[in-house]
């Protein structure tokens, strides 16, 4: 028998809550590391530390969070594709592989 939306939310809420908090904690750790690096090094030289926010991995996490917040369906598949290398249709020609 299929579960109702309410049943799913009730059973999975604490797990999702814990995982969302883990993501938030990671982002906070990065921010704290940025702040402590600025204090230790030259406080006016923020470019070295703030570049973490332009790091591709950081940007992907932000993009994944945006998918979580949008109203479209299949969030898991879309986040998986966001975090994946792109498929290139002519890869066989590029590799010059033999065909069986």
């Amino acid at each position: 028998m299929a579960r109702t939306p309410k049943q799913i939310l009730q059973s999975d809420y604490l797990i999702a809550r814990a995982k969302v908090i883990e993501v938030a904690a990671m982002l906070d750790r990065i921010d704290r590391a940025v702040d402590s690096t600025i204090q230790v090094d030259n406080p006016s030289d923020v470019s070295k530390t703030e570049s973490i926010y332009q790091d591709i991995a950081y940007q992907k996490i932000q993009a994944a969070i945006a998918i979580l917040m949008d109203s479209d369906k299949e969030k898991t598949r879309r986040i998986q594709e966001l975090l994946s290398r792109a498929y290139v249709a002519d890869w066989m020609e590029q590799f010059k592989l033999p065909t069986n």
Binding site: M1, A2, R3, S11, D12, I15, E74, T76, R77, Q80, E81, L83, S84, R85, A86, Y87, V88, W91, M92, F95, L97, P98, T99, N100
Partner: protein, 269 residues
């Protein structure tokens, strides 16, 4: 509930794990050849590894009433070494008549390189020429989507390959649809972090149905849980799924896929 684990690396597990798995209902398992965590140095090291898979492990499993089957190959990671790979591929036929060998696997891609693709095609050719089933490893993490599509391209462009005799493992939400739509069997691997969880595997069963779909633990030397299938069984029960639905995924489907090999002995029950 009795179950079959279609993909588990028992060479990296202690005998205690066999006892636990037997107590939790595992009656049979299939163990593909994989990367040991380091690059092997010679074809003889692979020969010894294949002896372990075809002789030692079945005996170890039998102590706990578990039937052990295996697959042979040089894995995708070590396939970057083309000359060694070709030596191993030439040696594999020495073991194909062993009573627990089901086919060629787990072959696939790792970083989706040209060398890996070259050796993958040579494994497929070996499998076809010796009428063997094929078990596929799809890459990890960010390489999975690209690599899975490349693997499916290579399989479908070879008219000798029968998709119903090929199991594509480690599918996730962004690869499962294409695998099933192209007629292959699909395996969901449940790891704590780097692959899907029992909960997401249950989601995929609910989304895609139970046809040609299996689940496995792929228990190995890295972070993994050999008891992941009992976890999935519990998750499906808690969601209200019938015993017949659960048995189809964890017992009947693996049996239906593997019985295509003459080596597979039908299980009763």
């Amino acid at each position: 509930m009795d179950y079959i684990d279609p993909h588990i690396h028992m060479v990296s597990r202690t005998t205690d794990d066999y006892e636990i798995l037997a107590k939790m209902g595992c009656v049979a398992m299939s163990e593909p050849a994989f990367w040991a965590g380091f690059d092997r140095g010679s074809v003889d090291s692979f020969r010894d590894y294949f002896r372990q898979l075809t002789d030692f492990e079945p005996k170890r499993a039998a102590q706990y009433g578990i039937r052990h089957y295996t697959w042979l190959c040089i894995n995708a990671k070590e396939a970057e070494n083309v000359s060694l790979s070709r030596e191993v591929i030439a040696m594999i036929p020495e073991f194909l008549d062993e009573p627990n060998v089901l086919g060629i696997g787990e072959i696939g891609l790792n970083k989706n390189s040209r060398n890996e693709a070259t050796i993958f095609l040579e494994h497929v050719d070996l499998a076809v020429k010796h009428h063997q089933q094929i078990l596929i490893h799809t890459p990890h993490l960010e390489d999975k989507y690209q690599g899975t599509r490349m693997i499916l391209d290579m399989l479908t462009q070879d008219s000798r390959v029968d998709p119903s005799r090929v199991l594509v493992d480690h599918v996730e939400e962004h690869t499962i649809r294409e695998v099933l739509d192209r007629g292959f069997w699909a395996g969901m691997t449940m790891y704590p972090i780097s692959k899907c969880t029992p909960q997401r595997a249950a989601d995929m069963i609910e989304t895609y149905g139970t046809e040609r779909l299996m689940a496995n633990s792929a228990g190995d030397w890295g972070p993994s849980k050999p008891t992941a299938i009992p976890d999935l069984i519990l998750e499906l029960k808690q969601r209200g799924h019938s015993r017949s639905t659960i048995q189809k995924v964890v017992y009947e489907n693996p049996q239906r896929f593997f019985e295509q090999s003459q080596k597979w002995q039908q299980l009763s029950g």
